[in-house]
Subunit: 215 residues, 2 copies
Amino acid sequence: MRIGELARSTGVSVATVKYYAREGLLPSGERTSPNQVSYSDAHAHRLRLIRAMLEVGGLSIAAVREVLAEVDSPDRTVHGMLGVAQSAVTRAVAEPNPEGDWAGAERAVEELVRRQGWVVKPENPGWKALVQIVVTYSDLGRGDLLSLLDEYAAVAGRLAGAELAALARVPSVDGKVEGVVLGTLLGDAAMSALRRIAQEDASGRVSAPVEDQAL
Amino acid sequence: MRIGELARSTGVSVATVKYYAREGLLPSGERTSPNQVSYSDAHAHRLRLIRAMLEVGGLSIAAVREVLAEVDSPDRTVHGMLGVAQSAVTRAVAEPNPEGDWAGAERAVEELVRRQGWVVKPENPGWKALVQIVVTYSDLGRGDLLSLLDEYAAVAGRLAGAELAALARVPSVDGKVEGVVLGTLLGDAAMSALRRIAQEDASGRVSAPVEDQAL
């Protein structure tokens, strides 16, 4: 198909298609005559994947380029793909508050991971983020919220298992690789959206003013 | 305490303390003499809460101001607080792709919500985000990933229940209100971090290259 049809069928403007191509996110089309370049369904699919990462996953162009380089690599593995997708999606941890109990938080995360029986490296991008959250809870004197982390952890483990099982049912290698990217990026967005809905339902069942309610 | 001690004890610079005060996030201290303003433990706590929302929750100054206005409102309710915290934390949905099957996605979300027995308004910020995710999955021909949404939903419901139970154990009203804010903002961040760790554990158990593995 020509670039106009490619743009129409994916809901992306022609200018944006050219921009993604210049930025190296989209492979060139096939030149079929001096004035004409032809694009395939693979280009359309790639464009939709780019849109998903940018608009739903909230990644930057630079992060999308990094993820796609790994998607296209001949040496890609599920584990390697996951590392790249995870780094791309995880917000950098802010400058640590020097007053916080970082050593204590580190120990708390180690113990949480051990209780779940998880085998992970401390360089996991989630690990640092979790230590910062524990420091923040402690700073605010909200040790009570720490008890929720085991509940979150159990649920995260259950989801990771379901995600890997879904991945196992995907026949093609390209499909598996894309599944890791979408599972990481869109999975986070989906979980966050569903938490919004579940929280409204739960809190709607207790609707009196804070001051009056037993809650 | 003086502003220097307030800054030191919260790990925030004096300039930043003054900036938050100018932006209306932090109430003024008490003027105890023409050249001296005194701050209390409540100011220190408010500063830590602001840091948590900005640095861990990733909110903008404007969003923090909006959440704090509701926190300080005499008419606050758990349900109202939740709405404000949810709107602050939910990323705006991108310009819809006109080629996508939005009506179909809307129906899929309605059915998902009905299967969970949830009572929520379609204006819930998570609802729109979820519709966009469903459209994206369909665009990419990944109907297989839709089946994961029921699993995510069940888990989100379980977490909302655990969060409300934790809230019920908080004795003070201020503590409850702060708990809603932290549960929404930091809860999302904690869930995302724990997913990173659980996913690494799950995928580490299958470490062969994608091309070779049964996965």
